[in-house]
Amino acid sequence: MATLDWQFTDAGDATLVELVVTSDTDTGIELTSNLTPVWPPRRHSRPAAGWNENGYEGSVTAETPLVLGYASPADPVEPPATVAATGPVSNGRDGSPTPEELVRSLGEAGPPRDAVPTPTAPSTGADWPSTTLQSEESGPDDTGVSDHRAERSGPEDGMGVTEGGRATADAPPAPAVDPWFDALERRLDAAERLGAVETADEARAAVDAVGGIDAVRRLCARLDADRTRCDRLAGVDDRLDAVEVPLSALERLV
């Protein structure tokens, strides 16, 4: 039987989850995260072996615990994952490796993301200036070519975060901020429920619903960070209302 031990680390925009899976027998396991979306560890831009959008599939031995870690924009939930034993581990595998395994183990030969200029094309939704290098290098065939891989991998890439954990400058903004807004709304719902309690019983129930008093403390810390960020947003909001680009005049001039 596989058992799970866990620990959370608050990394600002994300929750880092450390898991230790132990078992008294050698067994295959399937681990499903209760925090979604899952941002798995990556090797050469691919989710590391065993990781998928829901969690992890692998095996644990009786001698050695399985130690795993992943991130999620969601707030901590107790427990962060459920683990199910999937039966005996099949030793050895036949057949060829999959293309995904080859890329994960050997690495991609393509240029790193930073080395590729950002194209401007209507189809990408990227409406901020790109470097001039792109227009010099690319022929007419290349318009519309962008780093679609970031878009295609979608949820796996999370908030436009690279494997190094750094936000990418060339990712379209909407997918990057939407999960944060969703998480913020969930935090506000929870905070409002906590703020609306009137009796001791209600308070206990509300605290339990959040995941205990530690979770309430974490929620307060996250809300402080949210306030700082929203103050900055408010400044941008005013400027966004005020600004107007004289597009037609500029078009006549250039």
């Binding site: 890329v103 690495g107 780093d147 295609r152």
Partner: protein, 231 residues
Amino acid sequence: MRLTVTAGKGGVGKTTVAYNLAAELDAVAVDADLGMADLPSARGPDLHDVLAGRASAVEAVREGGPVAVLPCGRSLAGVRAADPAALVDAVRAVEREYGRVVVDAPAGMHSDAAVALLAGQAAVVVTRPSRAALAGALRTRELARAVGTPLARVVLNRAGRDSHDRLASALGAPVTAVPESDCLAEAHRAGQPVRAVAPGSTASERFTALASAVETVLRESSSGSLPQSGP
């Protein structure tokens, strides 16, 4: 039928062999050298688009030239957007439509070279009689073995008159020697297979023999009697 033409090192004539083999086998040549494409190109969707999910593999095949080609783009952004792991499915899609595919693999030991090997039922390793090229061929043979793709033939470009037994023994596959010739260079410049430019030439005959040998190996492979590459 899916055949991968590969080499450990660039500049040994891999693309020339792939193009001429595709002509002999009446196959589609897929330019899988994502970063250093060399087969003739044209406007329209290319392999970068296919591997980025923007076009289907079959619609990217150009049938107009002497050899049907699935060309590869030349832009950095295209390489970046392409998912090398998607090559196997793309090659299989072309095979379903056209029957025969020759994959011109990239040189090197990265995943793009390995996935191109995985896309083929058998591989032809191209090399030249130089220390660096032979070392590259050995490394590629190891990569093919790791991926599980059998080695059908070794092509020795710019071959001299020496015996090639040692090379065949080292790489674990028979050697087809293609001597340096003007007609090959002329065919390359004209964007034609050598059999179209110089039908009776030694080079043309060697490619015909190579194609025939590879077909035999692939037949045996599909009937399950082919051993894994090398000793």
